[in-house]
C-alpha cells in the first residue's frame, strides 16, 4: 500500500501539517537516537502512528517488504563481518557490536518507511494543498510537494496497466533472473515515455487554468487547525531538538 487511503481516523481528520510534523519527527528522531532500545521504541511509536491512522496492517506489511532487503544486507555486513567480540549462534559466529549496529540502522529504516507510508496514506493531497494555499505558500511549491506525494501511486497504477497490456501481447514475467530483467525493458520504456508525455500535457493544462499566474490562490475549503494540534506540533519539534541536544551532549561529554 503506497498512497492516500480515504478514511475517518484521527490522522485523516487531523490538520495535514500535524500528520507531516509527526512523520517528520519520526524521520529526524531516527537519526538522533543511537541505541537499539531507543530506536526500537521509535519503531513502536511509528507503529502507534500507523494505528492512529487505521493503516497499521497495510503500512507495516509494505514497510517490512521494503525494508527486508536492507535488513538482510545490514546483517550480512555488520552481523557477519563486524568487529569483535563475537558470539556463536548455531553454525555462524556473529559480531556483537555489528548486530547492535544492524539493529539500530534497520530500526531507523523501518521507522522512517513506516512513518512515511502512514503520512502518505492519511494526509489527503487535496487537504494539504488547501492548507498550504491558506498559509500563502506559492502554488509551484504546493504542487511540487503534493505531486511528490501522489507520484508513487500514479506510477504504480500506470506500471500495472502497461504490464497487463504487454502480457496480453505475450510478455512473460516469470523464468530466470535474466529473463525477468529482460522483461523490465517493455515496462520501463513506455512507463518513462508515457510519464513524460503526460507531464508535458499537464503543464500546458495547468498553465491554461492560471496555475502559473503568480496570483495568491483562493483556498476554498482549508482544513481546520486547532490550538491542541498546534501545541502537538510544537511539542514534537521540541522533542526532536531535545533528542539532538542529548545526542550531541552524549558525544562530547
Amino acid at each position: 500500500m503506497i498512497g492516500y487511503v480515504p478514511g475517518r481516523s484521527p490522522l485523516h481528520r487531523a490538520h495535514p501539517y500535524t500528520t507531516l510534523a509527526l512523520a517528520g519527527a519520526l524521520l529526524l528522531g531516527a537519526f538522533a537516537l543511537t541505541q537499539p532500545l531507543e530506536v526500537w521504541l521509535l519503531v513502536m511509536a511509528a507503529a502507534a502512528f500507523a494505528a492512529a491512522g487505521g493503516v497499521l496492517r497495510a503500512s507495516a506489511r509494505t514497510a517490512l517488504l521494503l525494508s527486508l532487503p536492507i535488513w538482510v544486507l545490514l546483517f550480512v555486513l555488520h552481523g557477519l563481518m563486524g568487529a569483535e567480540p563475537r558470539m556463536v549462534v548455531g553454525p555462524v559466529t556473529l559480531s556483537v557490536p555489528g548486530i547492535s549496529r544492524a539493529l539500530v540502522l534497520g530500526g531507523r529504516v523501518t521507522a522512517i518507511v513506516l512513518g512515511f507510508l502512514t503520512a502518505l496514506a492519511t494526509a489527503s493531497p487535496h487537504r494539504l494543498v488547501e492548507a498550504m494555499t491558506a498559509g500563502g505558500v506559492p502554488f509551484s511549491r504546493t504542487f511540487l510537494l503534493a505531486s511528490t506525494l501522489t507520484v508513487l501511486p500514479r506510477m504504480r497504477e500506470r506500471a500495472t496497466q502497461i504490464l497487463e497490456a504487454q502480457q496480453c501481447r505475450g510478455l512473460r514475467l516469470g523464468g530466470s533472473p535474466l529473463a525477468r530483467l529482460r522483461a523490465l525493458g517493455p515496462l520501463a520504456l513506455p512507463l518513462v515515455l508515457g510519464a513524460l508525455a503526460e507531464v508535458d500535457e499537464q503543464v500546458l493544462a495547468l498553465d491554461a487554468r492560471g496555475a502559473a499566474g503568480g496570483a495568491r490562490r483562493t483556498a476554498l475549503d482549508p482544513p481546520r487547525d486547532s490550538a491542541p494540534q498546534r501545541a502537538l506540533r510544537w511539542t514534537v519539534l521540541a522533542l526532536v531538538v531535545v533528542a539532538y541536544a542529548w545526542k550531541f551532549w552524549s558525544m562530547h561529554r
Binding site: L204, G210, T218
Partner: protein, 253 residues
C-alpha cells in the same frame, strides 16, 4: 466581431527539430468563430493550436517567426486525453473546475459561481460531488472543458477533443460548442472527426505538411476530402460524407 488572434506568415519550429511544424500560416480568429483545422497526422494542426493560443513557444519552447497578435485576455486549451489534464489534487468535480478561478485569487463566492456556470454550460452539474477519477472518459472530457471555461478564456483551443470518447459522448461534446461560441468565445478545433466538426464549424482550414492548403467556409474546405471526392465521383447525392465512418453509414443506408 472582436478580433482575438491574428497570425501572419507564422512559422514555428520545435526545439531540436530540423524543419518547422507549421510554415507561413496566416489566420484570424474573432469572437464567436468556430474554426476547424484539419489535416493528416503530422500536418501541424495541434501545433497551430498551441501557436494561436500563445502556449508555443512560451511553454513548449521552440522558435516562432512571422507576426502573431493575441488580443484575448486569456486562452484555454483542451487535449485529447482528459486524464492527463486533471490536477490530480482535487477530490471532487466541483473542486477540479474551481481550480482555475481559485488560481486567480478571486473571492471564494466568485470562484464557486464561475464553477457553477461552467458546469451548467457543459450540463454536468449532477457530477459536482463525484470524484473525477471515477468518471467515464466522456464525462471527464466535459469536466476538463468546463474547468478550462471556468477561467473564462476568450479563445478556446480543442485538440482532437473526442479522440478518446464513444460516439454519444463525442456528440454531446460537439453539441455544446455553438453555445460556448455564442457566449463570445472564439473556438479553434483540430480534429480528424470531420462529420461532427462540420456540424459546428463557421470556418475551416486544411493543413498539409505545416502549410495551409485551403481556408474558408466548411462546405468548401471539408468537401475537398478524399472521401467526399470519392462519394461525389460515385454519384452520391450531397451532402457528401466527409470521413470513412460517415461513408460506410451512407453505404449502409
Amino acid at each position: 466581431m472582436t478580433r482575438l488572434v491574428t497570425l501572419e506568415g507564422a512559422t514555428f519550429t520545435y526545439p531540436g527539430a530540423d524543419r518547422p511544424a507549421i510554415a507561413g500560416v496566416s489566420l484570424e480568429l474573432a469572437a464567436g468563430d468556430v474554426l476547424v483545422v484539419t489535416g493528416n497526422a503530422g500536418a501541424g494542426a495541434s501545433t497551430l493550436l498551441l501557436v494561436a493560443t500563445g502556449f508555443a513557444p512560451r511553454v513548449v519552447g521552440g522558435t516562432l517567426t512571422g507576426t502573431r497578435r493575441i488580443d484575448a485576455r486569456r486562452c484555454g486549451v483542451v487535449f485529447a486525453r482528459p486524464w492527463t489534464q486533471l490536477t490530480g489534487l482535487c477530490p471532487t468535480v466541483r473542486d477540479e473546475i474551481a481550480f482555475g478561478p481559485a488560481s486567480q485569487g478571486l473571492p471564494a463566492e466568485t470562484v464557486l459561481g464561475a464553477a457553477e456556470r461552467a458546469m451548467a454550460l457543459l450540463r454536468i452539474a449532477h457530477l459536482a460531488r463525484r470524484e473525477p477519477t471515477q468518471l467515464s472518459g466522456g464525462e471527464l472530457q466535459r469536466v476538463v472543458v468546463a474547468a478550462v471555461l471556468a477561467v473564462e478564456p476568450e479563445v478556446l483551443a480543442l485538440d482532437d477533443p473526442a479522440a478518446e470518447l464513444d460516439p454519444e459522448a463525442a456528440d454531446a461534446l460537439y453539441d455544446v460548442l455553438p453555445a460556448i461560441a455564442a457566449a463570445g468565445t472564439a473556438i479553434i478545433v483540430a480534429t480528424p472527426d470531420l462529420e461532427r466538426a462540420a456540424r459546428v464549424a463557421t470556418r475551416a482550414l486544411a493543413l498539409a505538411a505545416g502549410r495551409v492548403v485551403a481556408v474558408g467556409a466548411p462546405a468548401d474546405v471539408l468537401s475537398g476530402t478524399e472521401v467526399a471526392a470519392m462519394a461525389r465521383a460515385a454519384g452520391c447525392p450531397p451532402p457528401y460524407p466527409l470521413d470513412v465512418p460517415a461513408l460506410l453509414r451512407r453505404v449502409g443506408q
